[in-house]
Symmetry: C2
Subunit: 724 residues, 2 copies
């Protein structure tokens, strides 16, 4: 248990870093009165939205928690509660830092680019480390409570149920937060742009636009709070799934290594919290004033330091790194190819597992995958490379060709990440089977502190720019915040690619947990997961449909809510001519309130889709073709949703980022610059990309996880029902 | 063999109908000299393009044919040659009818809507029945030659190889024709629109636009010739796969029923040729002058008459419709649930097959699926329903919201067809296992004559409108051709949904052929197709990637070629001011030639993607993880490409049609009508939808089939290599 306690300690370290750094951030100057007034309005709007969002989610949450309690047990319900509350907390705290850091970043940018960068990045780092720290604390603490305080066996059903419940709580909150926040931010953004930039011909962030505060609120509730909840969920599910898989798949074979093996993912997470904290201090501009370069410095330091750190905790936990661990029956040929011992047990061949070194290499693989995905995402969304430039160039011939090229890039952008993930699956499987895949995913997520830091910095600089504009600060300040913001577009895309990439690996782990659970709960039912079974095809097709349907709902919701914003702003302009003349103040609160109501209303139905789909598919197919086919179709649905969702999410997030930066590239004076026809076309592309990259695309990640976790819970509930 | 001879006779009937009806069409008045001059330019351009396209394809074809000959045998090579030549012929003849019917339709529309409709529809019906007739003749004739003249057993390897070779030839030509034609038509269309409507502010089909002839040529080479080759391929592959599956799966168990069972798909095709011919005579305007209604009348007559026709040929071929046929080991639980006899044979349970009535109901299911897909497609692309109207309404707030709503609709439009296909798979499987699925697909394709007729009518009316405009005919003529054309948008979308829907079913049949072949060729290799095998996941992911990559290439190709058109037209305008003034004639041929070269160049690489991908995946995975995993990954790739491709194709074709008709709906005077801001936004959406619906989307259908057929050929080649 001391290993778990160390992990808890390292989780606390992240919290302490957060408290310490937020004091630094809040200690910085908050600018003049006008700036503080604007920032105050944004803070107020963001808090009002989150309060309402979390109240609504709480109602759904209480119902679901009660269901978990009655259908399963109090441990799963307690896990659900902890996951839900901490996921909400991660988002809430992140948003609170963000809305205070924005005005301070604007103030700091008056002194220089480095000052602005430092402040914004520190704000991001607080959110990043809080997400990683809270997530680690949640799993490690709950595991300690169950396996230590209550004395359950580490691989007992109680512990597994608790961890799955925890993951479910985190995921359910996260999908609401991602989708609600995503709809809010893009409805406000698209609405403000349409009625401001396009109709009234006033610039972005012009204080005369009644939707301008809502737009800035959106950055905080969507890109910050929503994203934080999402990554909290990804962390909890990935690390939790690795532990659950260890318990289910290897449990009996581990002996004295059971507890160390189950604690190891937690320790890897803890070790990388330390390296992430160190990395944050290396984010500094070099002589070339390259902002992306400064970010990379921080990331590379973290990644490189993580290599010895992971090796150290592994050696500590496992002792002999070359001893064989567990047995792995999953991927026979592959492991045999590496020359591991081969044991024949009855009819089936059982292959003697993997070594600590194998797991270490799988973790390294996770780090490499993270690096490659960051690099690929930067290629597809950075202004220096072919994809963004091709969209910018296509803008010269109009709106249509801009969108066509953007769609082409978004389709193309799925290829390299998929190949990286496929290579990752193959290599990890060859090294250590499914457990290897789980370790690769865990190592990816262990870097979450740093990756989220890079991302959460984005909304701060976006807001800082808005405040600079509205407060009428010098143009040079806006230039600096714009430069910081352009990098934010790429880092935001990076986090999404990273989250969905890790989801690809985590989903395989969850699927393995599903099949293992199935054998344990229903030993009498032989489920045919072969592609030759038509119900497997049915499941795959239905699973792949989910992200499409979900994406359609998200996009429609943004379109509808943005339309409401346009109408509201038009009404305000019509009712008071003074607004456009700059003599009267628009009613910002009214627009914020309108978007709030719209976002809350629109988030419910799509969020319930992945919760209900597995249940409906299982029962319908069972009714038609028996329970074995019901289980087969449900299992295939879980993989279908990842096979379909991976591409939808990758294409949407990369495409959206590329459109956004193509506009920025033109605004930098290329292809005619601001106000040119190419610029108008690029604004259209940016608008289209908005709900792609910030609403529908990123929400696919929690959606995939929810579908999987609901399936696991369904199995447990069915088993409990059959037993009771 | 008499059953096959009857099928051949019915195929010839379709050809006779074609010759007879084309005399009627060609006998109609061809309009005034000016009209004939324009039509002549279109004919010349279309022929020049097709000659060059088929010359290029012939070079690839000869190489591939030689490969098939050396790696397999002369029978497969002969099949390839027949499939390739007849696929090309179907496209070529269809195009020839189309380019002659266009001007005659314009002339006939001067007399009235019914006259225009009759002429255009008859032209479409010629293409439709030629496609179905030639396809039936190809399979039935080749089958007769092999099993009758040469005396091979109907289920012998020679016959199977021959049919697979035939399908490969048809598919390979079809993907080139679909993609080359698709790139040509949309590059010309988008380019002409951008430089004409958007830049120069002249209307569509204005004779001053140098790209206008290329645009009209495009309708013929893409929407007519490309589509005809595609549907020829779909027909050959589906009916051929049903025969191959019957031979491989049931071969040994059929006894005297072997030949009748293998001939039955041909007879169903033949019977529906008769009902399609009858149906064409019912396409007449009612009192409401509803064009879509007239089309439906024809379709419904065909579908309803097909019920007794299919029943009749089944009874004739099988005799007792209630006798058990074959044995079906594929879907045990399902078939047992229906109470069929259960035979235990060794360790495995073999379920005594299905009856003739089961197959009849599966065929009826195919007709119902076709009807439902038509109905769903009309809902998503017709101007009277929510989807198109929502896009039209979103156009009011600008280009961005139009595109967002269009994308949302395109995502949503995948849901209902997927559910229909899933329900079809389940029901057919319950009735008669995989053979049932094959019969549902065959019955769908049996209606191809009628469905292609509805589609091929589109480019004729589109051209007729162009000719009316360029020849300066009365506005009332243009109104009539426009009304005919609007329906064409929906019927074109219908055919694509139908083709991809049937591809979903056919792919399952091809996958079954793959697994059965695998067992026969490599009895010693145990392949694990379970979803638990990581290499199955790898295959699924790589398969799902293919349509994305393919779509990206197609979209980029259109964007690039359209850009070339824009430059060419700008140069022509700049070099000769008289063009815009209407005093000098633009150099149409130069633009046609430019698009021709671009389309031919751009079609090669994407077309080779599905040919090479299966080979590369098999060899790479075999190298890494052994042959069993290589086969597993390849099999999963086949299903991955359909799981991914179904959604990409459905969303693109439905979305594109919806965008197009949203523009038409606005042009009809809604939301501000022509020239309004909403109209400009809708033109953008239409431009975006163009390569979606006419280039990338429809080409996914042959792509799926090619991947599957290449895998089958790879198995045969590997087996031949191992044996030799």
């Amino acid at each position: 248990m001391e290993l778990v306690l160390v992990a808890i300690g390292l989780g606390l370290l992240a919290i302490i870093y957060g408290i310490f750094t937020s004091r630094q951030v809040l200690g910085a100057g908050a600018g003049n009165e006008k700036m503080q007034e604007i920032a105050g309005a944004i803070q107020e709007g963001a808090r009002a939205y989150l309060n309402r969002q979390y109240t609504t989610i709480a109602i759904v949450g209480v119902v679901v928690c009660a269901l978990v309690f009655f259908l399963l047990n109090w441990i799963a319900a307690a896990g659900f509660l902890i996951g839900a509350v901490l996921s909400g907390a991660a988002g809430y705290i992140g948003m609170n830092i963000s809305v205070k850091a924005n005005v301070r970043t604007a103030a700091a940018a008056q002194s220089g680019l480095q000052q602005g960068l430092t402040l914004a990045f520190r704000a991001g780092a607080i959110t990043g480390l809080l997400v990683a720290g809270l997530a680690l604390l949640a799993i490690a603490g709950f595991f300690y409570f169950l396996a230590g305080a209550l004395g359950f066996e580490a691989n007992s059903r109680e512990v597994v149920d608790g961890l799955v419940g925890l993951a479910f709580g985190a995921s359910l909150i996260s999908i609401f937060a991602r989708l609600g926040g995503g709809i809010f931010t893009k409805a406000a953004d698209v609405g403000a742009d349409l009625v401001g930039k396009v109709e009234a011909g006033i610039p972005e962030d012009d204080p005369r636009n009644p939707a301008v505060i809502a737009d800035n609120v959106g950055d905080n509730v969507g890109d910050c709070a929503g994203m934080a909840a999402d990554l909290f969920e990804t962390y909890v599910v990935t690390v939790g799934a690795t532990m659950v898989l260890t318990a289910l798949l290897l449990g009996g074979t581990l002996g004295a290594l059971l507890l160390p093996m189950m604690s190891l993912p937690l320790l890897i997470g803890g070790a990388c919290i330390v390296t992430s904290i160190i990395g944050t201090y290396f984010v500094k501009l070099g002589s070339k004033q390259n902002i992306m370069g400064a970010m990379y410095k921080g990331f590379i330091v973290t990644a490189v330091l993580s290599i010895p750190a992971i090796y150290a905790v592994m050696t500590w936990a496992l002792g002999d790194m070359n001893a064989l661990i567990g047995a792995n029956v999953v991927s026979e040929t592959a492991t045999v190819a590496l020359g591991d011992t081969l044991v024949t047990e009855g009819a089936a061949e059982v292959v003697g597992g993997f070594t600590g070194m194998d797991l270490f290499w799988c973790s390294m693989l996770g780090l490499v995958i993270t690096g490659l995905i960051i690099w690929i995402t930067e290629y597809y969304t950075g202004t220096e490379y072919r994809p963004v430039r091709s969209i910018a160039k296509a803008s010269e011939t109009g709106h249509g060709t801009n969108v066509i090229q953007g769609l082409a890039i978004s389709l193309e952008a799925t290829a390299l990440p998929t190949l990286v993930i496929v290579a990752g699956i193959i290599i990890a499987d060859l090294l250590a089977g499914l457990v290897g895949i789980a370790y690769a995913a865990t190592a990816m997520l262990a870097l979450a502190g740093m990756v989220v830091a890079l991302d959460a910095y984005g909304p701060v600089t976006d807001n800082a720019g808005g405040i600079a504009e509205m407060a009428g600060l010098d143009d040079s300040v806006r230039e600096k915040t714009d430069a910081l913001d352009a990098v934010g577009n790429t880092t935001k895309a990076v986090t999404k690619g990273y989250a969905i990439g890790s989801a690809g690996l985590a989903a395989l782990v969850l699927f393995a947990a599903y099949t293992t659970d199935l054998t344990e709960f229903f030993p009498g039912v032989t489920v045919d997961f072969s592609l030759k079974n038509p119900f497997v095809i049915v499941g795959l097709l239905l699973g792949a449909l989910l992200p499409y349907l979900f994406g359609a709902m998200g996009m429609t919701a943004v379109g509808r809510a943005a339309g409401d914003v346009v109408k509201d702003v038009r009404e305000q302009f019509a009712a008071d001519k003074g607004i456009m003349e700059g003599t009267s103040r628009p009613n910002y609160a009214r627009t914020v309130d309108l978007v709030t109501r719209a976002a809350i209303k629109e988030m419910i139905v799509p969020s319930l889709l992945p919760v209900l789909a597995p249940v409906v598919v299982y029962f319908v197919i069972t009714l038609i073709a028996g329970q074995a086919n019901g289980f087969a179709a449900l299992g295939a649905l879980l993989l279908g949703v990842i096979v379909g969702g991976l591409f939808v999410a990758l294409s949407m997030t990369a495409g959206g980022g590329a459109w956004d930066n193509a506009k920025k590239y033109i605004e930098d004076g290329n292809h005619g610059g601001k106000g040119s026809d190419a610029h108008h076309a690029a604004v259209t592309g940016d608008t289209v990309g908005d709900p792609y990259k910030d609403t529908a695309g990123p929400a696919v990640n929690p959606m995939i996880k929810i579908t999987n976790i609901v399936a696991l819970l369904l199995l447990a509930a069915l088993a409990a029902g059959a037993a009771g």
